[in-house]
């Protein structure tokens, strides 16, 4: 007789959502968390950074008040309070998860889990936070949702020391905003911190090994974003391979090779944001013979691993490392286990970067679509001719759409601009519903909104844009 139907390891956005869904389906569920409910996302990722970025954004706006006919005397900030607000937001949400667990009668076990052989699912031995250990068993499945952590590259000194060299974690709770900052990696995490600290006045240099920033985004977006960030005073070194990052005096020194030459840069602090590694260690996965590939658990489309009764979802199971992907997989995995799975819906996963301006995208980039052999129709529309954007003083950015010329399928959409992260789901929905250009064109977009640029970018792909 098993203790539970489902045991979830890790209470991030993948794990806790999976647990709720399991409880909704009447499965007796436990969730094991070694730190905070809500995981990195709520406590050290998505949410608290959005709080920081909002502070930065508002502060930066204060520098442009005259654009709006306004004035304020000597705007300033209290860094401690900015950080405190961010922590408060995280805490509020984390306690919200505790409430949800209680509401759904999900047993929360505080501790660190380790798997042992067992049937029908591996046994879970928890080293309890309160001391001692407890072994629990699941009748239907154990779900590994342990997430991921910042990748470190010791050979190049890309390892946090907690003081001068940070990962996202330290970068979120410093006592002071550094005067100068070097960010290694220009993905979403690196650029969000770069954007935040720049807003507070830090001198920020971003170093990217690939030839362009935001390497996963469409090339047009990378180019436009770099321009927009440079306008805000951010500096970039692209195609730059870090050879050595080290502490030097009361700061850091970073050596990198760019264009065949070696350069060195000094800064007060460095943030390492060179990617993510799955949390696959110390879980007993090796002893169970769980297949692991490049730091991530190998699973099938339902989350099942090669070990019966063991599932993996979210970051620990590989990219894209996004909270919403983890939640989506969690729900799907549970419904599959419960035999309540709906039909497979091929849903694209949007990605968002909350810089100033924001970046959002879904589906294929133009280059990816070309590589796949599609004949394309590409549309673009800039916010600088969008009424709402002009009125709001947020005219940076544009929207780009990529269509399959043959079928009219929307293959991808790419956006840069204010609050585009709130708009991308429109295109995600269109793609999930398998809309063609005709339905999107026939959709009525409210005026005046920035979303009108979505409509125009679709019209433009077919030579029908109205306002350009």
């Amino acid at each position: 007789m098993s203790d539970f139907d489902i045991i979830v390891i890790g209470a991030g956005p993948g794990g806790y959502v999976a647990a709720i869904r399991a409880a909704q389906l009447g499965l007796k569920t436990a969730i094991i968390e070694r730190e905070n409910l809500g995981g990195i996302c709520l406590n050290w990722g998505c949410i608290p950074t959005k709080a920081l970025l909002k502070s930065g954004e508002v502060f930066e706006k204060l520098g442009h008040l005259e654009d709006y006919g306004l004035a304020a005397e000597k705007p300033s900030y209290d860094f401690t309070k900015v950080i405190a607000r961010s922590r408060g937001v995280a805490k509020q949400l984390s306690s919200g998860i505790a409430f949800l667990m209680k509401k759904h009668k999900i047993e929360v076990i505080d501790g660190t889990a380790k798997l042992e052989k067992g049937t029908p699912a591996p046994k879970v031995v928890v080293a309890l936070k309160a001391g001692g250990s407890r072994t629990v068993t699941a009748a239907k499945g154990v779900i590994v949702a342990t997430g991921a952590r910042a990748r470190v590259i010791p050979a190049a000194g890309l390892v946090p020391d907690g003081e001068f060299i940070w990962t996202y974690r330290e970068a979120m709770v410093p006592t002071l905003a550094p005067k100068s900052l070097v960010v290694v990696g220009s993905g979403a995490i690196g650029l969000e911190f770069a954007s935040f600290y720049r807003a507070l006045g830090s001198e920020v240099t971003v170093i990217e090994a690939m030839p362009r920033i935001l390497p996963v985004e469409d090339e047009d977006i990378s180019a436009a974003a770099q321009k927009a960030f440079e306008k805000r005073g951010l500096k970039f070194r692209v195609g730059a391979k870090v050879s050595k990052l080290s502490k030097e005096g009361n700061g850091v020194s970073i050596a990198f090779d760019v264009g065949g030459k070696s350069e060195t840069l000094k800064a007060d602090r460095a943030i390492v944001a060179v990617g993510i590694d799955g949390n696959v260690e110390n879980l007993g996965l090796e002893a169970l013979g769980v297949k692991i590939d490049r730091g991530h658990i190998v699973n099938d489309k339902h989350g099942a691993t090669n070990v019966p009764g063991l599932y993996a979802i979210g970051d620990v199971a590989g990219p894209p490392w996004l909270a919403h992907k983890a939640s989506h997989e969690g729900v799907h995995c549970i419904e599959h286990i419960a035999g309540k799975g709906g039909p497979d819906v091929d849903a694209p996963i949007p990605g968002c970067t909350y810089t100033q301006p924001q970046i959002a995208s879904v589906g294929l980039t133009e280059a990816q679509a070309k590589e796949k052999g599609f004949e394309l129709k590409v549309g673009r529309f800039p916010f600088k001719v969008n009424g709402k954007a002009i009125a709001a003083g947020d005219t940076d950015g544009f929207i780009k759409t990529v269509f399959d010329a043959k079928t009219g399928a929307l293959l991808g959409a790419h956006m840069m601009g204010a609050e585009v992260t709130e708009m991308i789901q429109g295109f995600a929905l269109a793609m999930t519903l398998e809309a063609t250009e005709a339905e999107i064109m026939a959709t009525v977009f409210p005026h005046p909104t920035m979303s009108e640029a979505m409509h125009e970018a679709v019209l433009d792909a077919y030579g029908k844009a109205l306002h350009i």
Binding site: V345, D346, T407, E434
Partner: protein, 430 residues
């Protein structure tokens, strides 16, 4: 309101395929009536109605696989019971009314597809044969249209059975077996595979259906099923006609024209249509179209099928003219070089199998024409003349009539007129 449930055809059956519906929304169902065919992995079985009533809705479309036992598959309402929802859209294939203005297509022409579920010109929400909406994503609809996939035969894998792109891409275009099952009428093909009917795969050679074959299958199936037709046969003595032909050909020899028996029969048809204009008619929803000219379509066998080139206004043309035109048309027909206007839009058809020794046969009406004449072989037969046995060259002809426009007496009058012209060709000059 009564739900018809998916029946268990065997004690172990858990699910099955709803292979075929014999009823549609709006039909009245009697207890014991065969309403559907269910396929399991083992067998296909017919489902009898238990309850009586009017079909309110078909809940599971034809061709659906994996339908669980006891799942509601259709809904009945008792007599007098009010419909719970707005009535479903009327079945699109109402009366198979031929086109009114006489431009209806001839045998080998692409006719409007009778299947209402076929992808329309615009990728609008398609409808199943029972009028129910087929849920399909816009992209699926568009790809289906492009590939000629009939969505009524595609099983949707999306939420609530919605057809998504992958389903269409996995479906075979055109004559996919599933679409044949879902829309059995157009081609007349059985919804069962030959293997299911006991003819094993590999025991035959499969010749793919080309456009002509599909058109023939569809048009003639429609015609034979939908048109109330009847044959009228008569024997005709043709000795005088054969004599006349010799004289005519002697006269035309200098022009290099050689009139065939069939050419003379075309002329006789035209004259008979002129004499009995009621037989030169088409049935349309608006009324009976009485054609002003005798445009005689002549069936010509060609490689892979047949086609019916037309001698226009044959009642106004000379035999020499008809003969020359027919030679040219027949030659180009065999090369498949006819222009559409040369084989579309006749008002009457003539089919002659006499050269094969066929004694008599009854052709199928070539919509929208009101009649078609089938000509058998001319042969020496004993005839009774003035109480004495004699020998004459006789052929039997059969006129197949569309009873909606040509009643028995009209058809008989036409046959008499035709017989008169052929037996005494001089009268054609009158």
């Amino acid at each position: 309101m009564v739900d018809i449930l998916m029946p268990a055809l065997s004690p172990t059956m858990e699910e099955g395929k709803l292979a075929k519906w014999n009823i549609k929304a709006g039909d009245t169902v009697k207890s014991g009536q065969i309403i559907a065919e269910i396929e399991t992995d083992k067998a296909t079985m017919e489902v009898e109605a238990v309850d009586e009533g009017v079909v309110e809705a078909i809940l599971v479309p034809e061709g659906s696989e994996g339908v669980k036992v006891n799942a509601p598959i259709a809904r009945l309402r008792g007599e007098g019971e009010a419909a719970s929802a707005p009535p479903p859209p009327a079945k699109a294939e109402a009366a198979p009314a031929p086109k009114a203005n006489g431009n209806g297509a001839a045998a080998a022409s692409p006719a409007p597809a009778p299947a209402p579920a076929a992808a329309g010109p615009a990728p609008a929400a398609p409808r199943a044969a029972d009028g129910a909406r087929i849920f399909a994503s816009p992209l699926a609809r568009r790809i289906a249209k492009e590939r000629g996939v009939d969505l009524s035969g595609v099983k949707g894998s999306g939420p609530h059975g919605r057809i998504v792109r992958a389903d269409v891409e996995g479906a075979k275009p055109g004559a996919a077996p599933r679409s044949a099952a879902a829309a059995p009428a157009p081609s007349g093909a059985s919804s069962k595979s030959l293997a299911q009917l006991g003819i094993p795969d590999g025991s035959y050679t499969l010749v793919p259906l080309d456009g002509m074959r599909k058109t023939i299958a569809r048009r003639l199936t429609d015609s034979f099923r939908d048109i109330p037709h009847f044959p009228l046969s008569i024997d005709i003595e043709i000795d005088r006609m054969l004599e006349a032909r010799v004289k005519i050909n002697a006269a035309l020899e200098s022009q290099g024209v050689k009139v065939s028996v069939n050419d003379i029969l075309i002329k006789a048809c035209a004259q008979a249509l002129k004499a009995v204009p009621e037989a030169n008619a088409s049935f349309t929803a608006e009324g009976i179209a009485l054609h002003h000219h005798a445009d005689v379509a002549v069936a010509v066998a060609i490689e892979g099928g047949l086609i019916t080139p037309i001698i226009r206004a044959a009642e106004t043309r000379t035999l020499a003219d008809i003969s020359k035109a027919m030679k040219d048309l027949a030659a180009r027909a065999r090369d498949r070089k006819l222009k559409p206007e040369e084989f579309q839009g006749g008002t009457f058809s003539l089919s002659n199998l006499g050269m094969f020794g066929i004694k008599s046969f009854a052709s199928i009406i070539n919509e929208p024409q009101g009649c078609i004449l089938s000509v058998g072989a001319g042969e020496q037969r004993p005839v009774v003349r003035g109480g004495q046995l004699a020998v004459a060259t006789v052929m039997t002809v059969t006129l197949t009539c569309d009873h909606r426009v040509v009643d028995g007496s009209i058809g008989a009058k036409w046959v008499q007129a035709f017989k008169g012209f052929v037996e005494d060709p001089v009268t054609m000059l009158a």
